[in-house]
């Protein structure tokens, strides 16, 4: 067994209004940054996993995201290994 760091990125799904993202977009606009069409805010969850391989660690992180870490009604997710 080895230890792997796996990230789960959870984002509001396209088409779901994200009030914090929208508030941030208008704040960026107010600061004078041009061309900010949309902002969406998600979260990154870092998991330290004991696993036989990186593939296994990623697979387990995916299962965790489906079961708990993301709400599939309004959120999508991606998993990735630490660089």
């Amino acid at each position: 067994m080895a230890r792997f760091t796996v990230f789960v990125h959870v984002m509001p799904r396209e088409g779901v209004l994200d009030p914090p993202g929208e508030a941030t977009r208008s704040a960026l606009q107010a600061l004078g940054f041009p061309g900010v069409v949309a902002v969406r805010i998600g979260r990154r969850i870092a998991l330290e996993l004991e696993a036989a391989s990186q593939e296994e660690a990623l697979e387990r992180a995916r299962a965790m995201a489906q079961r708990l870490l993301a709400n599939p009604v309004i959120e999508s997710f991606e998993v990735g290994a630490a660089p």
């Binding site: 088409g15 779901v16 209004l17 994200d18 009030p19 914090p20 508030a23 708990l68 870490l69 709400n71 009604v73 309004i74």
Partner: protein, 257 residues
């Protein structure tokens, strides 16, 4: 016949459990013929319990998402099983969020459109009067009930929302003081909820989620008594059902042994 027993669930971080116990046992009083009892979140056995209330608060600190971790607590397995058998289940505020996360009701909650915690009385219109919790209201009646939440901006995808309306799953809808539909006049929609939904039932009608707090509007002292009929309705519904099905009621009592 003993009073019907209502289990009021406490998770770590629940803070409206005592208010609900008080509203049922004291504000609604003997007329409701209900006995509210506390139920701890680790409980796995709900025998002898005739209905469940999941009160508001900040279960598990609202970590990850509101209600997400509470939805996995041991007591929710039992709630899910009994709800499938038709037991009345009411989730208030954080309790509504827990029912959504547990998949007992469709959709999800987003942060309020205003990104502000909203704590004030609102007007809602009664849309369903055939549920265990609303049968003593009149359809179209306008109620004044307080809300207190940061995440009450209900969301369902358009297809789901259409199905919710088609099946008549909207129990309470935000409205103006004269009953004006908040879908047409968004200024009466406090949080941006899709369909101006304040209260949602499952298709069977026995599971109800409410963003407003009826337990905070069950006594004249608190400014509104519009919420008290939630408890009186439940008492009536359980009494009628227990009268009709004495065998089923007795079985509930004996199962613990």
């Amino acid at each position: 016949m003993r009073a019907a027993r209502v289990g009021v669930i406490t998770f770590p971080g629940t803070n409206c459990d005592r208010d609900v116990l008080h509203a049922i046992n004291h504000a609604a009083g003997p007329e409701a013929a209900l006995e509210a009892v506390p139920v701890w979140y680790e409980e796995r056995d709900l025998s002898g319990i005739d209905a469940v209330v999941i009160p508001g608060g900040f279960s598990y600190g609202d970590y990850l998402r509101s209600g997400a971790i509470a939805a996995l607590a041991p007591v929710m397995q039992a709630v899910r099983a009994r709800a499938a058998e038709g037991m009345p289940v009411l989730g208030i505020c954080n309790g509504f969020q827990i029912l959504l996360e547990a998949g007992l009701l469709p959709g999800a909650m987003r942060r309020n459109r205003s990104l502000r915690f909203i704590c004030r009385p609102v007007t809602v219109r009664v849309e369903r009067v055939d549920t265990p919790f609303t049968l003593l209201y009149r359809r179209g009646e306008v109620l004044v009930l307080p809300i207190a939440h940061y995440e009450g901006n209900y969301f369902a995808w358009p297809e789901e929302l259409e199905a919710i309306e088609r099946r008549g799953q909207v129990a309470l809808r935000y409205c103006g003081p004269g009953g004006e539909d908040a879908r047409e006049q968004p200024r009466f929609n406090p949080n941006g909820a899709a369909g101006a939904i304040a209260g949602l039932t499952n298709p069977e009608g026995n599971v109800l989620g409410l963003m407003p707090h009826p337990e905070r509007a069950s006594e004249a002292l608190l400014g509104s008594q519009d919420g008290v009929r939630i408890w009186l309705s439940l008492g009536r519904w359980l009494a009628e059902r227990r009268g009709r099905e004495p065998v089923a009621a007795a079985r509930g009592d004996g199962r613990g042994g």
